[in-house]
Amino acid sequence: MPAIEIEYHKAETPIHRLHPITKIIFELVIFVIAATFNEPLYLFIMILVVVGIIALAQIPIQKFRYLKFVGFIVVFLIITQGVWFTSFGDFGGTNSPFQWHTLFYLYPAWLPGGPRVPFVLEGAIYGLALGMRLLVISLAFPILVITTHPSDLVTALSEIRIGAWRIPYNLIFVFTSALRFVPTVSREFDHTIDAQRSRGVEFEGYNIVNQVRSAMPLFVPVLTSSLVHAQDLTIALETRAFGAVENRTFIHEVKWGKADWAVSILLILIAIACILAVRNYGLGLLPYTPQRGF
């Protein structure tokens, strides 16, 4: 069973040296660009770029074992979009009458009343595009957490200020400890699965009844031990006088350097260029989708 291992991984790379805020900007820019394009080719180029950045940050490939599950979702999206895409009717904005390509029928012609439920090529492509958006985002998201030391992230977030207002430290702590808990809970799941399998619970197979029946022995221990963990954490925090001082200071500071200016401005320019390309020239858009000319 693969664990979700989104944890800080120490290495000396240009990506690790960047300011956490720069990396947050990077994630936001990836979200925006992934949302603007819906042509698989453009999204594929994005995936290549993100993979290049991952390679530059020397993140071990084992951290991405969770992509197996993303793969399932992509397949699910392709199938559902292939079947249901055209049933939403008129797509305004497509100028020429569009010819759908039916690949096959889920309810074949030789059955009485068939053929029904066409599987449409354009829908499958749109499904693929949605899946690739998901893939880009799920590839890019761990980069921030894996290449940033948790305390640097806390420091960077607490330095954000608008006038006299800062993000409350409690809120930052909630955010970072939530990130910190993802691998912990994932490990709890693995241990619980092991323990229950040893008692004869079946998690394998596609039997829906079995799957539902095995949910209880899996989720109850994970949930209770997560709550116990959380309670332990509050006790540990209180013994260290969490929240005793209004303005928390940090022993270690993160610096915003020239590279951060350059990378952030470049990223924002790329995002604007992509939006303009889509808006004014229709680049990176499938011709039969409603986004055209937004």
């Binding site: 619980t192 323990a195 399998r197 040893s198 008692r199 004869g200 109850v220 221990p221």
Partner: protein
């Protein structure tokens, strides 16, 4: 496939998905009705190896047979009828609303008739001293009690092989004796017990065979007595002598030459080594002058 071995590992290597190699070519046969202890420092591969015994992990190289069945060709739930596995942390398995249901759960999984299941569950709970608490919610129990509950729910399944991973961690003397007494009782009834532990007195007292591991390899496969006679193995694996033996080592300079495993054996050895009463006073002063503080 000889039926002599209930578990047979042939050149088993295991590399985790993270790239860490935890086992390197372990070949080992466990006979029926053995009481086998795995010892070794943390990270020596003990737990990884025993997790192969019920198929939770499959060998990445080599093969492992349980009762003549290749673990790669079967499921954990099938193997759970032969090999019972008790984990270190009971909180990973406890989920029912009462101690009673928790003990019955494993039996329901194996489709054991209700009447028989209830009888077995009652017996198992009585043995670990939790029968009076059977209507309680498991979360109301203390950590040690929950550990015993997990052990009881495993014992009720009456499997041929019992794997105990650190069975006595966090237990007081009485509970430790209850759990180990239970294991010894099952061993007498012909079951095979496999135990992973750091507690050398458990090894000395109960095990019939001990396997010392280091760096994913078997360093020594012998009886406990043979293990404790090999100082170099003990230092290599970072193990501590059981108290009786440590005391005997301390008395070596006073002329005690024995390898007692339990306090009773130590007592016998001392009595046997005692000189005639007439010489006793001489001996005592001799010992007083000679005995140096026991190392460790």
């Amino acid at each position: 496939m000889s039926s002599e071995f209930i578990i047979q590992a042939r050149e088993v290597s295991h590399t985790y998905a993270g790239g860490i190699t935890a086992l390197q070519g372990v070949t080992l046969g466990i006979r029926r009705n053995e009481f086998l202890a795995f010892v070794g420092a943390n990270g020596s591969g003990k737990t990884t190896l025993v997790k192969h015994f019920n198929g939770l992990l499959k060998p990445t190289r080599g093969s492992l047979f349980v009762n003549g069945i290749d673990t790669r060709k079967t499921t954990v739930s099938t193997l759970s009828r032969t090999v019972g596995f008790c984990f270190q942390n009971p909180d990973h398995q406890i989920f029912c609303y009462s101690v009673w249901d928790e003990t019955l759960f494993g039996l329901w999984q194996q489709r054991i008739p209700q009447a028989e299941a209830e009888e077995r569950a009652a017996q198992a709970l009585q043995k670990v001293g939790l029968y009076e608490l059977r209507t309680r919610h498991p979360r109301e129990l203390s950590r040690g009690q929950r550990q015993r509950l997990a052990t009881a729910s495993l014992l009720a399944m009456e499997t041929q092989v019992l794997v105990l991973d650190e069975p006595t961690t966090g237990q007081d003397f009485n509970s430790r004796r209850q759990i180990m007494g239970l294991a010894a009782e099952l061993h007498e009834k012909g079951r095979t017990i496999v135990m992973v532990t750091h507690d050398m007195s458990l090894v000395a007292e109960y095990a019939t065979r001990v396997v010392a591991m280091k760096g994913g390899r078997v360093l020594l496969d012998a009886t406990p007595r043979e293990l404790f006679q090999q100082e170099d193995i003990l230092t290599a694996t970072g193990l501590k002598l059981p108290p009786a033996l440590a005391l005997a080592r301390g008395l070596k300079s006073a002329g005690l030459n024995a390898t007692p495993l339990t306090l009773n054996e130590l007592y016998d050895a001392i009595v046997a080594a005692l000189p005639e009463p007439a010489k006793l006073t001489d001996s005592i002063s001799y010992v007083e002058n000679r005995v140096k503080p026991c190392p460790r």
